[in-house]
C-alpha cells in the first residue's frame, strides 16, 4: 500500500491519524473548482478542466470541492520543512546522478540538484557544454544516460503526460508557424498544453507580451524578438504550470521585454513555481536566490 504524501508529494505522512479522508479518485467531477487536500490540511488548487484525471493518482490526497478555510500551498514550507536546496521548501524536482552523452562525447555526469517550490535554477556554461541537453533531459524530451529525475518523488518516465502537463518548456526554436496568426499560434500552443483559455485570456496574454496590436498578423512577419515574446506569452496564461524550463529565454528580447520576463519569473517564484533557465548574459535575475549548475 502506498504511503500517503502531502499535496505535492513532498513528504510521506507516516501517521495514519492524519489521513481522515478516503483516497477515492474523483474522476468525473470535471468543471467544478477543486482542490487537492493533503492529510496535513494543505490545499493545492486544481483546474479540473486541465487535469482530466486525478493528477496525483494513485490518490494520496483527496481532490474535492475547494475549501477556502484551509491553508494554501504557500504554507507547505512551514508545515513540511523538508531538505530544501533552492526555494526554501521541500524538494519537488530531484536530479540524481544525471549523466548525459552526445555520441561518444560525455557532456556531464554525476549531476545532482534539488529544487523546491519557489526555486530558481540557472544552468550555465560555455557553448556545447550541454545546457540545452540538460534542459531537454529535465523536460523529459531526452533520456539521461544514467541517473534519475523525480518530480514530486516519482520518476518522470512513470509520470509521462502527468509530468509534461505540469511544465512549460520553451526551447531555442519558437514553435510557431509562419502562416498562422499570432493569436492562432498561441491558441494552438495552449491547446497542446491541455488548456482551453477563453479568447479574452489569449488577448490578455498577447497584451502582456506586447503583441496585441499584431494578433492577426502571420507569425512569419514578426521579428525574432516578437516571435520570442509570442513563445513566452504562454507563461502569462493562468493558472501557470508549476515548472518552467526556459532555454535562453532572454535571447533577442529588448530591454522592455527583458524586464517583463524578469517580472514574470519573479511572480512565478513568489507563487511557489519553479524556474530552470539558461542564459549567457546578465538577466536581471542575479539578485534572486538561486542555485547554479556550472557545466
Amino acid at each position: 500500500m502506498a504511503v500517503p504524501v502531502c499535496a505535492r508529494r513532498h513528504t510521506p505522512v507516516a501517521d495514519s491519524s492524519l489521513w481522515p479522508w478516503s483516497s477515492a479518485c474523483p474522476k468525473g467531477v470535471a468543471g467544478r473548482p477543486l482542490a487537492a487536500i493533503a492529510p496535513c490540511g494543505v490545499r493545492t488548487f486544481l483546474d479540473a478542466r486541465r487535469h482530466r484525471d486525478c493528477p496525483i493518482c494513485p490518490a494520496s490526497v483527496i481532490v474535492r470541492e475547494d475549501d477556502t478555510s484551509l491553508p494554501t500551498l504557500a504554507a507547505l514550507t512551514t508545515l513540511h520543512p523538508g531538505p530544501a536546496q533552492t526555494g526554501g521548501g521541500a524538494s519537488i524536482l530531484e536530479l540524481t546522478a544525471i549523466a548525459c552523452a552526445r555520441g561518444t562525447r560525455q557532456l556531464f555526469e554525476d549531476l545532482d540538484a534539488h529544487v523546491g517550490p519557489g526555486g530558481l535554477l540557472r544552468v550555465s556554461g560555455p557553448n556545447g557544454a550541454g545546457k540545452t541537453s540538460l534542459l531537454r533531459t529535465i523536460s523529459g524530451l531526452s533520456r539521461p544516460e544514467h541517473g534519475a529525475i523525480r518530480w514530486q518523488g516519482e520518476d518522470i518516465r512513470r509520470l509521462g503526460e502527468n509530468y509534461s502537463s505540469q511544465l512549460i518548456y520553451i526551447g531555442h526554436a519558437p514553435a510557431s508557424k509562419a502562416e498562422l496568426s499570432v493569436h492562432e499560434n498561441l491558441a494552438v500552443s495552449l491547446a497542446l498544453q491541455g488548456r482551453r483559455p477563453a479568447a479574452t485570456q489569449i488577448d490578455a496574454a498577447l497584451q502582456a507580451a506586447g503583441l496585441s496590436a499584431r494578433r492577426a498578423v502571420p507569425a512569419g512577419l514578426l521579428s525574432q524578438g516578437q516571435r520570442r515574446r509570442l513563445a513566452l506569452a504562454r507563461l502569462t496564461v493562468q493558472p501557470p504550470a508549476p515548472l518552467w524550463i526556459l532555454d535562453e529565454p532572454f535571447t533577442a528580447l529588448d530591454a522592455t521585454a527583458r524586464g517583463w520576463l524578469v517580472g514574470l519569473i519573479q511572480d512565478h517564484l513568489r507563487g511557489d513555481g519553479i524556474v530552470i533557465f539558461t542564459s549567457h548574459d546578465r538577466t536581471g535575475l542575479e539578485t534572486l536566490p538561486q542555485q547554479v549548475i556550472e557545466l
Binding site: 470535471a30 478542466r49 486541465r50 482530466r52 484525471d53 523536460s139 523529459g140 524530451l141 531526452s142 533520456r143 503526460e161 509534461s164 502537463s165 511544465l167 518548456y169 526551447g171 531555442h172 526554436a173 519558437p174 514553435a175 510557431s176 508557424k177 502562416e179 498562422l180 492562432e184 491558441a187 494552438v188 500552443s189 491547446a191 497542446l192 498544453q193 491541455g194 482551453r196
Partner: protein, 226 residues
Amino acid sequence: MSHTELRTMRCVLTRDLRLAWRRRTDSIGALVFFIMVTGLFPLGMNPDPTVLRDIAPGVIWVAALLATLLTLPKLFAEDHADGTLEQFLLAGTPLPLLLLSKTAAHWLGTAVPLIVIAPLMALQFNLPAEATGTLFLVLLLGTPTLSLLGAVGAALTVGVRGAATLLAILILPLYIPILVFGAAAVGDSLRGMPADGYYATLGAMLVLALFLAPWASAAALRIALD
C-alpha cells in the same frame, strides 16, 4: 479518451488543415503530379482502349502512391525544424493521438483531392462506370493506410539528411499489399467479378494501421528527438 484529449486532437487537425490551405501549393503539387503521371500513360502507350483499360488500375494506384510519397517528407520536417514537435512530445495528450490527427489532416489535404479527381482520370483509360466506382471506393479505403504507414516512415527519417530517398526505400515495400489489392479490386471489377473481398481486406488493413501506426510513429519520433 477525455474531452481535453479530443479537443487537443481537434485543434491539431484544424491547425494542420489550416496550414495545408495556406500552403496549398504542396497539396496542389501532389495533385498535379497525380494528374500528369496518369495523363502521360495514355499519351505514351498504345492508344488501344482495351490495353488502356487493362493498365488503368495499376497506373492510377502507382500514381496515387507516388503522389502521397511526394508529400510525406514534409509531414514532420517543418514541425521538427520550428520546435513544434518538442511541444507535441510534451503535450498533455498522448503523442499517438496527436499524430493520428496530423495523419488525418495529411490524408484530407493530400489524398482526398486525388480520390475526387481519380474518376476523371479513369475516363482517359476508358474505364466503365462500375470499375470507376470500385476504384473510388478502394482509393477511399487504401489511401488512409498509405498516410498512416507513411507517417511511420516520416517519423523514422525526421531530421535525417536525404530523408526523402530513405523514406521511399523504407515505405514503398510496405505499400505493395495496398497496391496489389487496390489494383486487383479494379481489375476484377472490370471482368465483372465482385470486389467485396478486396474491400474487406483493405478495410482490415486500415483498421490495423489505425491502431498500430500512430503508436509506431510516436515511438519513432521519440527516438528521433532523443
